[in-house]
Amino acid sequence: MRRVQIFSGSSHPLLTDAICERLGTSPAKVELKKFSNGETSVSVETSIRDQDVFIVQSGSDQVNDSLMEMLIMISACKGGSAKSITAVMPYFFYSRQSKKKSHRGAITARLVANLLSVAGINHVITVDLHAPPTQGFFGKPVDNLHAEPLIARWIKNHVPGWKEAVVVSKNPGGTKRVTSLADALKINFGLVTTDRRRSGTNGSLAGSGFLERMGDGGIESHISDTADTSPPNGTAAESEDSRIPPRIRTSPRLAPNINGASATSIPYRGLNGYTRSSPLAQSTRVDSASPPTNRIPVQREPVTNGPSRALRLEEKEEEEEDSANEYTDERAREVITGRLVQGHIVDDDAPSPVLSTMSASIATLPGDVMGQPQLDGLDPMTSSFISSTSAFQPDHSALGGSMDATAHSDDEEEGFKNPEFEHTVTLVGNVRDRTVFIIDDLIDQCGSWIAAAETVVKRGDAKKVYCIATHGLFGDNSLEQMEACECIDYIMVTNTYPIAPERVKTCKKLVILDISTLLSEAIRRNHHGESISALFQHFPD
């Protein structure tokens, strides 16, 4: 191509080489070094006057150095009278910090967008932005390319029996990404979601509620009570709706647990009545993909006999199905739950981290509003009021509309390692004896990936698990941990982000898909002024 210069930053020279090779050119000469005091120095060694300049720089472990280098290169090209400057950032710096996560939190992605603009870019090319609205932070055109067609083609060519496979999202926020790929491959999809439960809080509240209600009854005696009465309830639940086979694969102890939870909830509600008095309370459930429920009043009624309990159980299931209905016509036949302690699936009778059997039983009930810890039950208005008037803060809520599913997907890693927390994993969709593709946009920490993989294998009896993402950041030693995880069979990422060659060698499961075709084609089309919309389309079979 004439009158084009493609510069490579120091973060990912291999990718630039691959792009240039496809375009039949070579990277433009630039000297990148550091002064002895740590300041980055850039020296552009070829003429760029009135030429189209493309600067390829991805994130790296030294993200700030990469970013400064990029900014200085842009500034140098701008000062050197380039006709246009396009920043090619396969992985966009700070893309995960695209909204305020706490009071006075920084929106760093917007800051970076502004910095790039002020340095002098005219155009941005990137791949699979973590939050697509980040495009709006730039005053300049942004081409957000999709790796999905490449991934779909790879699946079709390399995965035996992919037509029977299931695409699974490991958090509710990623559902859109997953359904898109499922549609492209014309296969089913599923969803794994985790709810954080602070077992300590739960246990103490539930315990106190019990004592109040039961009068003299101890916890153990109550469990045995409910265990005795539970089987009829379970059968009632199934017989009421015989069209659909048992949709909850109950573990031996699940039925009594449901009873225990519903029984405790009555005094529990009484203790925290003020949180329910808000009219907003009904529309503030944020912990899963289910739509806001309007069934809370039903639960106010004392639940003491079998049929009404069974009714509530049905309603719970319908909720789960409603969420599935938003995306597909097929009803979810399977809702499977599991317990997650310190990032791993445990058996239902394993001891809870804080030695509270009650918290375990509450946590096993899927999507139960009443089983929520006190803080989670607060609606945003109340919590923001509380946080602005006192030092008390609900642990992960925030102002600025961050109480959505995506925020949870960003934060989900944080709680996994914490032994204080126990999580409930819910798997929606049938994965039995099938290959599973777990999809997200990036792999950084591995906790949620391993948890999702263990859920589909141990609870859902999946045959093979592929972890697929566009950006393989692999922070800390997550690549090694995923390699060691027996539930994961393959890890597939693209080469948008540099991975050290020695790490690649040690990881047998890792498959790296070359993305340079996509980027080079985008560069070529941009230079010639052609449409890039063909790059978003899937390859014909």
């Binding site: 002064f35 740590g38 500034s75 140098a76 760093t108 917007r110 800051l111 502004n114």
Partner: protein, 331 residues
């Protein structure tokens, strides 16, 4: 009127700057007539103190500063003052060859884009003029160039009053002479010499490449005197060592170096330890270096945090800062 919030940019491994910001706070509380201390509720003003350019992680520090400024901006701070004692990339302020980036200009744009409404820095105008090839630049101060990049006010403070106090306290002033290690620093050296009523000398060096010194010529008499070398920055210290050797050859009895920004990168410590002519190297704590003091006993520190704290206080209260150009506040 509530007092400002001072935000420190990172828990440095180096303790000196931590103590600085503590001192900032301390000074401000001490001078605050209303005694309001650092109340948190209204965000009147934020002073983001960057730990400036510690070698190695300058870009990390810079990004951190920008993100902090932006966070304060989005949290509706009324005014955000960046206190950057050692302004990064100040040396790259012109297009000295084709297609070279003017990074100092980029820096100014970035700070303003992030939301900075005021900048306080120290000894910015210090000469980095390389060689005497452009005599006209002798009088063009770097302050004007870089301050011109900004559309917001830039307050440049001077370490000179702190120098003066140190010299009076530590050197026999009657037998001293101020020496500038390069022609660009002549103005600062003469200013200091005037204030102390001393003679001054100048070393003319020819520098072929940055951070490298080739030949040195001394102008002035240093025989049997205590030579005080004054420079704005000690980086690899090659210049200082060579200048000290030149002074020793010309009969100086003892040689002391005073610098504003002690970066001491590369093998600076080894150079200093090997240079017998140089007995003491004194730097201000705009850049943290107390770890390095353990490896090089010649290093000494002047605390400039009272000056910066007083500047913060005066800026916040809308008082004049120019008093600080000639006086160092008592510690």
């Amino acid at each position: 009127m509530a007092s400002p919030n001072i935000t420190r940019s990172r828990e440095g491994s180096d303790s000196s700057f931590d103590s600085d910001s503590e001192l900032f706070k301390h000074e401000i509380i001490k001078h605050d007539p209303a005694g309001l201390g650092t109340s948190k509720t209204p965000w009147q003003q934020t002073l983001a103190a960057n730990r400036s350019t510690a070698p190695g992680d300058i870009n990390d520090g810079l990004m951190e500063l920008l993100i902090m400024i932006n966070a304060c901006k989005t949290a509706s701070a009324r005014r955000i003052t960046a206190v950057i004692p050692n302004f990064p990339y100040a040396r790259q302020d012109k297009k000295d060859k084709s297609r070279a980036p003017i990074t100092a200009k980029l820096m100014a744009n970035m700070l303003q884009t992030a939301g900075c409404s005021h900048v306080i820095t120290m000894d910015l105008h210090a000469s980095q003029i390389q060689g005497l090839s452009m005599p006209q630049t002798l009088h063009s101060s770097k302050l004007l160039i870089i301050a011109g990049f900004f559309n917001v006010p830039v307050d440049n403070l001077y370490a000179e009053p702190s120098y003066l106090r140190w010299i009076r306290d530590n050197v026999d002033v009657r037998k001293a002479v101020i020496v500038s290690p390069d022609a660009g620093g002549a103005k600062r050296a003469t200013s200091l010499a005037d204030r102390l009523d001393l003679n001054f000398a100048l070393i003319h060096k020819e520098r072929s490449r940055p951070n490298e010194v080739s030949k040195m010529t001394l102008v002035g008499n240093v025989k049997d005197k205590c030579a005080i070398l004054v420079d704005d920055m000690a980086d690899t210290c090659g210049t200082l060592a060579k200048a000290a050797n030149t002074l020793r050859e010309h009969g100086a009895s003892s040689i002391v170096a005073l610098v504003t920004h002690g970066i001491f990168s590369g093998n600076a410590l080894k150079t200093l330890n090997d240079c017998d002519a140089l007995s003491r190297v004194v730097a201000t704590n705009t850049v943290p270096f107390s770890e390095k003091r353990k490896q090089c006993p010649k290093l000494e520190e002047i605390d400039v945090s009272p000056t910066l704290a007083e500047a913060c206080r005066r800026t916040h209260n809308g008082e004049s800062v120019s008093f600080l150009f000639s006086h160092a506040p008592m510690e």
